[in-house]
Amino acid sequence: MIEIIATGALATVQDHGRGGALKWGVGASGALDNLALAAGNILLGNDEHAAGVEIQIFPFQVRFLEDCAFAITGADCGASLDDLPLPPWWVQTASVGQILSLGIPRQRIWRASRAYLCLAGGVDVPLVLGSRSTQLRGTFGGLEGRPLRSGDRLRAGARANGAGRGGFGLSPPALDLPLTEGGLPAVRVLPAAEYAQYTEAAHQALWNEPWRVTPQSDRYGYRLDGAPLHLIAPIETRSHGIVPGVIQVPPNGQPIVQMRDAQPSGGYPKIGVVIEADLWRLGQAPIGSRIRFRQTSWDEAIAAGELNARWLAEARRLADLYRGRTGSS
């Protein structure tokens, strides 16, 4: 069990998302950087779909109320356990009473904005409609359907093989799987249904101009600022199912990329969709930073997903190897 000592707004419990409830109007939620959450669980030997804590405002501090192995992934927050500095993407064991502190993300080696804290056995909150992710709009899931606050306590799930091992880490996907365009972080995009109904200038801007992540960006959507994207003629589309990654363009021409807390349906025209395999990259883009869109194909998008899966498989292999070598108990 851990107790939150200090937290900014909107730290939430997230797992890999809530599938199968779209038809009730329930969006999937889930970690914005799904690779980071999965990697944290892999470091601990957890099911990689176990729940963890997503942190986006710092500093963040927790006290361990029992001995517990934990992992930190995502942004490099200069973490420390009491006075012991911890490398990023690291698994460690904590003793009862110790305090884990995460500071403002360092942007030196890779740019990122969200950190993940995983516990051996996973963060144990009730399953609601098949998931532990916080559904902020519906105020259910996670811890009482709300962001965490100081004084909250989170229990670690039951664990078959002891307290877990610490003292090793992973190289982050931001370094292993870099993707840039014109010197800026990039995400790959497949054109969507209304793509052809945008002007040539809009197409040029989409692919060739930088897009700034505005302060009105959150787990629901990233509102981007750049050259306005205009339709050749106005259209009203009928409300239809959408997925995280859809780039909606309201009439003001400024695109909104739907993120994990996105509504499961919408009606604004769609110029493209950020592919599932790259959503973690966008989820880590800091407010005020600039990104680029790169046009991709179905085959490339599928290959990108397979590359992510291979990265996770390799992480699992390394973690198993390390635990096997040191786990003589």
Partner: protein
């Protein structure tokens, strides 16, 4: 927008979107429900989610190629027989205008109607729940009088309260909880539409009907 062929497009690698041709109507929606029932049994499909005369199919894992599923969708659509659903009828009292209807003036300006006409026209039909979406328990309704059609707002509103009755394009609906919206809010109501502890968690489902009653008009 209106063509005579269904249109299929991809939503990244996560889903396919099938859009039926023609004007939005109930007979088409009944075929969409039938198509959803069939497609949700296909092994590649995680969930079949009806929209307004359209259907999103999310993938359990993205296929190497979408063509076979697209062909199957076209064939299933051609063969789809309208699925009649005998749903519940729910009455919902609405306060039109005032603080609970902050965009009433915009709808009046766009439609050229006064607030009493808008309340009367809006509460006249029995609306059919075509689909759920947007947020937990929210219903997309079919049957709005097209004299009320008003474009979605140029910039979405950061938050509208639960129970807000709003118009977006040719559609109308009632928000089930507070959150962002691009629609024009013309009134308010109070009703609990969603409880995750219940099975099913949503109060209404496709095929149910909704009747708005004028509780009050605030001029």
């Amino acid at each position: 927008m209106i063509s005579d062929q269904p249109r299929i497009s991809v939503l990244g690698t996560s889903a396919l979107l099938f859009e039926a041709p023609g004007e939005t109507d109930l007979a088409t929606q009944e075929r969409i429900w039938a198509l959803a029932k069939e497609a949700e049994c296909w092994p590649e499909i995680r969930e079949a989610v009806p929209g307004m005369n359209n259907l999103m199919l999310s993938f359990s894992r993205p296929p190497a190629c979408c063509k076979p599923i697209e062909d199957r969708l076209h064939a299933a659509w051609t063969a789809a027989v309208p699925m009649r659903i005998e749903g519940h009828l729910v009455e919902l009292p609405v306060v039109y205008g005032g603080d609970g209807g902050p965009h009433m003036a915009d709808v009046m300006a766009h439609t050229g109607l006064d607030i009493d006409q808008i309340a009367a026209i809006h509460s006249a039909p029995t609306y059919v729940v075509y689909a759920l979406g947007s947020h937990p328990g929210y219903c997309y309704l079919g049957g709005m009088d097209q004299r009320l059609a008003t474009p979605r707002r140029k910039t979405p509103v950061v938050s509208i309260p639960g129970g807000a009755v709003s118009i977006g394009g040719a559609q109308t609906g009632v928000s089930a909880s507070a959150g962002p919206s691009g629609w024009n809010t013309v009134g308010s109501t109070s009703m609990r539409f969603f409880d995750p502890a219940l099975d099913p968690p949503a109060l209404l489902r496709p095929g149910d009907r909704l009747q708005f009653k004028i509780a009050k008009v605030i001029r």
